[in-house]
Symmetry: C2
Subunit: 395 residues, 2 copies
DNA sequence: ACTATTATCCTCGATCACCGAGCATAAAAG
DNA sequence: CTTTTATGCTCGGTGATCGAGGATAATAGT
């Protein structure tokens, strides 16, 4: 037996894609969607089964006809570790190739002390590596900060040292991906959330400041260095105001809890998220809060309208506090949105949809990004080569 | 002989792509770049030659070794007709599969009278059809106006009736593509102009108002209906001002000849392009003109900086009058650009490059868009089927 | 002029994914 | 128990690519 030369994985990538898109598809359904004959389906699934990539279990019978099988991740198949680092907590999960991460650890961290959190995350990852060995094919991290060339470059909201995350893995035997949380959440929404079916999706999310991403054909337009999607730093605001990022008039400053505080004459809040939720919750009984919410809603909606003019997306998905802001001042928001659109778009304005994956968007997106790598041609070649080595040493 | 069933064109698409990227590549060079063996190269080129897609001519000999051949468009190969409709003129050209259109007709038209111009263009196209028959595979039109679902929806600067262009072709035997001029010029620059080698290219052009497009991986992000890239209608300006497009605070209004006139206290110019050129030409000796140019340059540069923040492109290409505006007020422009960037981008700011294809960008881009269709799997299947019919009837 | 060197081209058998017809199989419906 | 329906499996055929071996056409050197 000789070492297998690199395969091209035609067909196989399609079937794996169907399994990712629709976890639990039946073999027959997948073949139909891909336009494969039954013979090809048999051959491809057999190959994927032999490679420990897919497992087949009898599918629940629907009507007449010979029962088919459900395609599922193989119990010894590849895994992706995903980590989400948020403002004051982090969590770690593991995903099989269906892209549905199941949480392993959740921890709070005193934000500011990045070293401590990074040590804990590194421990969790080492543990996963020990437990799963070569099954673990990639580590994909979602982080609330600007990412560039796979490194964190600005984490003002986390209060971290940008260099920290590089020490998250002990060695380079497993590829490490680092992505922005808004980018990854957008990816998840576009592929399997509020943006399914749309080719061009604009995802925007308000947390502390505003993040987002444009997704075209299922791939995020992350630009040259992966820092794409920093929509919060478009100068939709007052050019006289200098933003923390260094630029002027950033939209960022007009759409979150800090903006609400400013409009209410309050000092910058410690936790802008919590502050915003508190203010937005009392708009019904507090006219000043309602006025502040209106101003923020208008700033948000008119900016969104401008981006819709520019990008002409099929769908816009709103995450974080954006849906809250909208509902807290719905008439003002909707009016500002329509008012900001070009005439010819007003007849049939693109709907703005709240995200449908909730808090898990970034985690699911991180899994998707990791699986894009693992289930690529190169990733599968690696997997097959590893499997070959394991087989040889086992006999 | 039976009708050939649909082929998949593996390899062939790659070779055709090389010919488009580098007109006149040698066969050996193309094979090297695609990683093909000499056997595959022989077979693929033979097939393409038999299909009247490629021609091979002896290549000029460089050093030692057996001489190779140059790959060129076949003299009976597919053609794309390209039309560029501008403010007060139009031109029509024909391109072989190397994507270099050669002009056939150029005419001025009284802008406003769209019907007359459309009739003339239709005549020119009918003539091309008569001359080239089935070799003519697509008509690709670049137009200075908003395009949606392949139709012109807003042509305020042309003063045309948007419905006009649909009558440009007598029937539907040849596919008609209509694209925005800035989008197509950006496509051309990204593929073979100032943006070559960059994955994400932001192209912006100032004519009357501002247009542009984001190109990711060689494909323009034209959005849901093809109207993407209307960057001129991002609200970077004063929200109190209502734009002709219906939205508010559009960038469009701060960056062109109309803006210069406003700053100089002059009435809106008849021809904003000519007016702007005139004003920008006298900044050296006219302090008021210089001040106006500075304001426009700052509005343009700070907006570009915001878009660079948002998209993180590998390259920015500037077309139309944008390079003129920049040079007319270079210090102000550069300062505003740097000032609008996020801190971490300032160390190594993305260079802004003037377009390199000059006035031909839109025409070349239109050819590229047409060839994308003609040299796709489906397009080649059509071509092969047509050729088969012709062969049969010839004997 | 002749030979060596170099780069390329062509031929041919092997491989591999996919197709599709024909048959086998497993369930529900009658 | 038979029919109907949907699916899975087998197997020969097709077409694209690969790669080794030999042929070819130029330059460089003697």
């Amino acid at each position: 037996m000789t070492r297998p030369r690199d395969a091209r994985w035609p067909g196989a990538l399609g079937v794996l894609g169907e399994v990712r898109r629709t976890p639990g598809v039946t073999r027959a359904e997948a073949a139909r969607r891909l336009g494969l004959g039954s013979g090809s389906a048999t051959e491809i699934t057999a190959r994927l089964r032999a490679l420990d990539l897919l497992d087949e279990v009898p599918a629940p019978v629907i009507g007449r006809g010979r029962p088919t099988t459900s395609l599922r991740p193989h119990p010894r198949g590849p895994l992706v570790a995903v980590v989400e680092v948020r403002y004051e907590s982090w969590r770690c999960a593991v995903s099989e190739i269906d892209g549905r991460p199941s949480t392993v650890v959740t921890r709070r961290h005193g934000h500011g002390d990045g070293h401590q959190a990074v040590r804990e995350i590194a421990d969790a990852l080492r543990d996963l590596r020990r437990r799963h060995g070569r099954r673990l094919r990639a580590v994909s991290v979602s982080v609330a900060g600007a990412v560039r060339h796979g490194r964190l470059v600005q984490a003002t909201t986390l209060g971290w040292d940008p260099a920290d995350l590089s020490g998250i893995l002990p060695d380079e035997s497993v590829p490490l991906l680092i992505g922005n949380d808004a980018t990854l959440a957008g990816l998840a929404e576009a592929r399997g959330g509020a943006g399914v079916g749309a080719d061009t999706v604009l995802h925007l999310t308000v947390e502390v400041g505003l993040g987002g991403v444009l997704i075209v054909g299922g791939l995020p337009a992350t630009g040259a260095s992966g820092a794409g999607g920093e929509y919060g730093h478009l100068p939709f605001g007052d050019r006289a105001t200098r933003c923390l990022c260094g630029a002027r008039g950033c939209w960022d400053n007009d759409v979150d809890g800090r903006a609400l505080a400013r409009h209410l004459g309050a000092p910058p809040p410690e936790d802008p998220r919590a502050y915003a939720q508190e203010v937005l919750a009392r708009v019904d009984r507090d006219p000043r809060a309602a006025a502040a919410a209106r101003r923020v809603a208008e700033a948000l909606a008119s900016g969104i309208a401008g981006l819709v003019n520019a990008h002409d997306p099929d769908a816009v998905t709103l995450g974080g506090m954006a849906p809250l802001i909208r509902t807290a001042a719905e008439p003002a928001f909707d009016a500002a949105y329509l008012d900001g659109l070009m005439d010819f778009r007003r007849a049939d304005p693109i709907p703005l949809r709240a995200v449908s994956l909730g808090e898990d968007g970034a985690l699911i997106g991180a899994a998707a990004a990791g699986l894009d790598l693992v289930l690529s041609e190169a990733g599968l070649n690696d997997w097959a080569a590893d499997l070959f080595v394991t087989d040889r040493s086992a006999r």
